[in-house]
């Protein structure tokens, strides 16, 4: 059995920057427990002698010529921004009062 607890799920939500409500935490705790129990079986065959594969078709040193590519304009970069001002993305306070 996995050790997925509501506290862990809430913590994972903080790490993932998703503000989960209590109902979501409860639901996810149950669902993740079932899923993790099921997928934990990968460790049965993943013995130390087996190398890991991170990429299906490994390529090495993929370079392009060191020249300026096709760049987006500032207007294009900002066209989907929720808020922008003076050619910059605009956000609310970076630090909270207690910080």
């Amino acid at each position: 059995m996995s050790e997925i607890t509501p506290e862990l799920v809430r913590h994972l939500g903080v790490l993932a920057r998703i503000q989960l409500d209590d109902g979501e935490v409860e639901r996810l705790t149950g669902q993740l427990s079932a899923i993790v129990d099921n997928i934990a079986k990968v460790s049965e065959v993943a013995t130390p002698d087996v190398p890991a594969t991170s990429h299906p078709i490994a390529l090495e040193n993929v370079f392009r010529p060191d020249v300026v590519g096709e760049m987006l304009t500032i207007a294009q970069v900002l066209q989907n921004a929720p808020d922008a001002t003076e050619d910059r993305f605009k956000v609310t306070a970076i630090l909270g009062e207690e910080q």
Binding site: I4, L8, V9, L12, G13, V14, L15, A16, R17, I18, Q19, L20, D21, E24, L28, Q31, L32, A34, I35, V36, N38, I39, A40, K41, V42, S43, E44, V45, A46, T47, V50, P51, A52, T53, S54, H55, P56, I57, L59, V62, R64, L72, Q76, V77, Q79, N80, A81, P82, D83, F89, V91, T92, A93, I94, L95, G96
Partner: protein
Amino acid sequence: MSDIIRLTAAELSAKLASGEVSSVEATRAHLDRIAAVDGDVHAFLHVSDHALDVAADIDRRRADGERLGELAGVPLAVKDVLVTTDMPSTSGSRILEGFLSPYDATPVARSRAAGLVPLGKTNMDEFAMGSSTEHSAYGPTHNPWDLDRIPGGSGGGSAAAVAAFEAPLALGSDTGGSIRQPAHVTGTVGVKPTYGGVSRYGSIALASSLDQVGPVARTVLDAALLHDVIGGHDPHDATSLEQDWPSFAAAAREGANGQALKGLRVGVIRELPDTGFQTGVAESFRASLALLEAQGAEIVEISAPHFEYGVAAYYLILPAEASSNLAKFDSVRFGLRVDVPGGTVEDVMARSRDVGFGDEVKRRIILGTYALSAGYYDAYYGSAQKVRTLIQRDFDNAFAEVDVIATPSAPTTAFRLGEQLDDPLQMYLNDVTTIPVNLAGVPGISIPSGLAAEDGLPVGIQFIAPAREDARLYRVGAALEALLVDSWGGPLLDRAPVLGANGGAR
């Protein structure tokens, strides 16, 4: 003119080239079809408001004597995962509602350059996470064979669009089966190319080491024609393969004469016994194998002992990569922002992501965050990457003995909308035969093999080839397709119910 929509892309191309049909006529016929049936099917999230202008331009260029590509003037549906400059791109998510990309995805840009006419953007599970399109933030797509059933996923919109004759061709993306499983349940053809065969530039990333863009069509030749247009090296995608690919259309045309089957060794996986499939799916699969054998193919039993770990490895690797890729939806540069009075940017981010992401997306982000967290990384993500090696070795061993591997494309025919929505684990198992293909990076094709006896719904057969041998799939797929269509007396989709008649299907 309603017959235009039932032409294959290859047939339509010939009529466009000869001047018998104009691109404007073809495009209008498909837009009319969308207007008539998409209220029921809901394959499209957005329909282009200028497709006729694009078509008129192609007609003008043709009239001016310009040499155009074979598919010039043929309408195309585009999965909403691919970004487009002239239509919104949402990847099926509320968080990207209204997003207008400043650039085109490479497969879209290449389609435009070849003269294809984009009709609109097709529905999908949010960020391609799902096997039914029920996880779309904009409501599910309905299977044209039975509107109460799922069209598969994540690319259910693209598959349903071609199955419902709303478009002759569509673009899809396949991370664990999102092109092939929808093809299976809708009686259409779908191909996941070799990893790196088609550029991922502009494909909103789900899991970067698994995602692959590919063609969706009603025939093997049509899929090949589209693959020829979108494939090949792209410097914008560092994982794109630098090599010359043969013409897949030529392979499909060559395959259709059936010679490809003489002496072909077809592997059937011992660890995927018929008992793991719905009876009608297994029966259809066996009938196709018998057809191949009758034409001189040899059916060889092979072993792939690590396939049973594929789904488990996939549901560690995919959420891990997705949780990283989806970090970009931070409410700063693009996408939804939900204001939190007095809150910091982090509060706004966390709130926006809670509101903007659907349940399945949150589930997988949280799972991926867990799998990557300190203390669990080796046991989960590290082990899953080792399983990936073991599955690659299974394929290597198999392809030492056989030319292609055949499996049913999915365990069951289309299930009912809502049936598996509350059971994520059950939903994940729909991709048991397609997932190992993505983990290994090899190419796979699903073509219709018939209807299941018990429910009359479509079934697909999947062929898998070694990496970079996509042409083999088109050769073999076209050969079997020709035999099957001959045995049916016409395309399988001729037996689908009439849509839009008397104000609704059935």
